[in-house]
Symmetry: C2
Subunit: 93 residues, 2 copies
Amino acid sequence: MSSSDVLIHLHQKALNLLHEDATKIEKLIEVQMENLTTRQCPLYEEVLDTQIYGFSREIDFAIRAGLVAEGVGKEIISKLERNLAQLYEALEK
Amino acid sequence: MSSSDVLIHLHQKALNLLHEDATKIEKLIEVQMENLTTRQCPLYEEVLDTQIYGFSREIDFAIRAGLVAEGVGKEIISKLERNLAQLYEALEK
């Protein structure tokens, strides 16, 4: 592999990992949204906040390590934060 | 640069970033240890726990992305956790 192939492979791998992690948190948020209507389980706001914080550290590291463009990383985390904000908004109703 | 040069550069950069982040948390722990004797500031156990958690997510990502060997990553986090355990032990005295 040429050096640019190696870089593309690493960048793609990093991006895939981040998307996988984001999807896991999204699922958590979805489950919490469902719980809002069914009330079968308690809500774990703190767990979600912690997950998002940990994920933001992953994104930040990936950006600093030069694996993911800053704009891309920030967009992934913004999307999660918007979902979370919707959940919290729904909680307050 | 050859592909192996690119990889070495990326691995070194990732390792440097992790060591920098570990040093920041170590300084935080040291400050807290000093506060134990001077009691000038409140102790922020929760802040430290959160920092270590976020850092462990960084390390985990770096390992999964293939930037840092698993043993190296785990050793960095273990060292911090040992320091933190010492702080908590001192707290209980």
